[in-house]
Amino acid sequence: MKYTEDDLKKELESKEYEYGFYTDIESDTLPKGLNENIVLAISKKKNEPKWMTEWRLEAFNIWKEMKEPDWANVSYEKPDFQAISYYSAPKPKKELESLDEVDPELLKTFEKLGISIDEQKRLSNVAMDIVVDSVSVATTFKKTLAEKGIIFCPISEAIQEHPELVKKYIGSIVPKTDNFYAALNSAVFTDGSFCYIPKGVRCPMELSTYFRINEGGTGQFERTLLIADEGSYVSYLEGCTAPSRDENQLHAAVVELIALDDAEIKYSTVQNWYPGDNKGKGGVYNFVTKRGICHNNSKISWTQVETGSAVTWKYPSCILKGDNSVGEFYSIAVTNNYQQADTGTKMIHLGKNTKSTIISKGISAGKSQNSYRGLVQINSRAENARNFSQCDSLLMGNECGAHTFPYIETKNKTAQIEHEATTSKIGEDQLFYCNQRGIDTEKAIALIVNGFSKEVLNKLPMEFAVEAQKLLEISLEGSVG
């Protein structure tokens, strides 16, 4: 039987967003709207100490005074902050001792997502923390980690059990006043992961958090705090999905990384929030503040694969405060249909002999807009700072756009900075070559895109690289006609 274009078309239509299911889990949701009482209610639900409640209220007061920023190269309907429910937790919410106690419906969800916790546990040696809607539901491998002195738990738990660490570091990198969404997050964040690697410990496995927005009309505001003490190493992964919905859901997270002297943090993200349908309806607004600080001789490496979200607005940054510290940013951002992404990084060089590398690959298809916005700042005392940036964009079809906004600010003459950017499309000769060797156009494009993104994909941990590769294929399917 001949495989016709019609078949392909049908296949593509049905293949839109694999993770677009909604799981019917009974959940405990706070009424919509945002005011002081909601902030207090969230804090109370979490059974938080007084300092935390005050911290939230302070953030809420700051947020009230702030205006939503509009400088990014994206246009969208501003979310109505009073129409969002700020807390939604899957019920029954009780202390979960082991996976067996997890709601079977929830487990099915994970199976559908292809991340059966059990399987992951055995096969890939990945410790996971899973956050559905607003609450962390399962953390695996806790015991193994505890033996090494590693703390890996939901942040709500950390606030109870390790208040001294949380108090010391929370908001130290991304202050409440940082920006509109960071302030909002500080006021209403409901959960997230907390991780502490003690001095000199090399974390034996990948730590992973999985986020999912399930309930309609909710927003997800998680907060991640990761501290790598002197001489330690950790590799951390996060993944995100959401069901297909007509409405726009808001995701405003804050991630703070602290790499103390000689520490190394590798932070990888595969972001696959629901991007909206092919008419641009629905989808997640992804407004995230991610920032890390490097002390002496330490290293932070951000790797991200961005395929989802209707609007992405995210700049994982490194403050290279310590001497000889290293910041890296590897990113693939794919936009299709009506998606918009404005993403990039900030590398702030403060210490001597600091180095940063930026590799950003943007792929735009359909009617989407993809922007790279980055800042490389060399301060006057940052002797011998070195930066290399490369941003490449690939355009598919003539209705999409690719933009680059690199800011380069240098105040020290010993700095060495290179920046280059290119924009191109997939060459017809490249396609022809593949076709000629019996590879159909759709596959050929996947192949070429893979090659284009290789430099970044290579930076991902193995299991994620495979998933990311698949994701790339799925998000670009049907984009070339």
């Binding site: 355009l395 756009g401 680059t404 690199p406 060495q416 900075i417 924009t423 191109s424 499309k425």
Partner: protein
Amino acid sequence: MKLKDKLLASFMAFENKGDIDLDSNVHKIRTEAIETFEKLGFPTKKDEEWKYTSLKTILKNDYSVFPKIGKTVELKYVKEYFLHEIDSYKIVFVDGAYNSFLSDTTHEEADVCLLSAALKKPKYKMIIDHYFDNITSKKDGFSSLNTAFSVEGAFINIPKNTILEKPIQILYFSTGSEKEILLQPRNLVIVGENSHVQIYERHQSLDNNAILTNCVLEIFAHKRAIIDYYKVQNDKENASIIDNTYVQQRQNSIVSINTFTFGGKLTRNNIEVFHEGEHITSNLNGITIIEGKQHVDNHTVINHKYENCESNELYKGIYDDSATGVFNGKVIVDQKAQKTNAFQQNDNILVGDKASINAKPQLEIFADDVKCSHGCTIGQLDEKALFYLQSRGIPKKEAKALMLFAFGNDVVEKIKIPALKSRVTKLISEKLNVELGFEI
């Protein structure tokens, strides 16, 4: 009184001077422009386009808005600023007023004359109505301000099929007869089909009084026209310039704008290019070599709107002491502009300990079949190369200068007027404080 209020207040007096008909189009344009200026005012650092350039220090001066006219200068004092070794047309202004003694204009093969004449004379009405203030930005305070007070400047109108053998020199001198002065020259250049022209422009103050020049230049290049435009900026330490250049190109035309900045307190160059046809080439080149507390800001925008066009940008900067530099290059490729080739390169060397550079090479691309790239580097001289030269007996200072000269040479090589090329070479060697010992 603040400068803005002063300017707004003097507009009425300016319009009633009667240099043009009050029911003419120009009057309407000026009136609209002053309204726009009133609304926009001067840009501040909060404007994204002025993020790195603060105007505070230059706008606080109490500039005289209508310069006193009458002072003249003798050729021997200003000869060095001309390209005197070659035969050329010259349009010379002293304190904003035309100086016929130093000038050499023509109406024979082309109109190389004054804007004031063109605004007044009925025979130019059609041209003025068609071109004047056609492509300037209506969202820029400085351009609007210039339009509102536009009365004098160079008017160059080259008819079809004319190759102008002699280059045109446009020079603006300020004598410093007043302590603080604001000059607003307005130039209009129209080049017809198949024609070719080379233009050299320079603003020069003759003493150290504060001067702010807010200049607007409109260039219209018709089909297959070739325009080479050279701006040399090497002014005194209290002179600042806001230079706004707007270029409109029709198909197959080639326009090159070369900017050489060696001095001045604050220099801001805005260049915006609009394409109105296919197979257009736009070349923007620049060298900046500054020191002390000087500030140079190069802003370029290229609007690719049609297929098969090309743009090349090459900007080099050398910053000593605590000089600050800004480069902001924007390339916009419209959805229709398939097969565009856009290339942009910005290289900088920081020599001074407190020198700084802010660069923002920006691409906005809406078409898929394009080749666009930009590159930006910031670095130092290669120690190994320096050592090599020293080991061959070249003193460190000369070795450094040699390398810096080589760094900027790509741009110097693009100069097509030999006399200007050796002039620029000389300026660079003066600037680097060495005898290069070779002629180019």
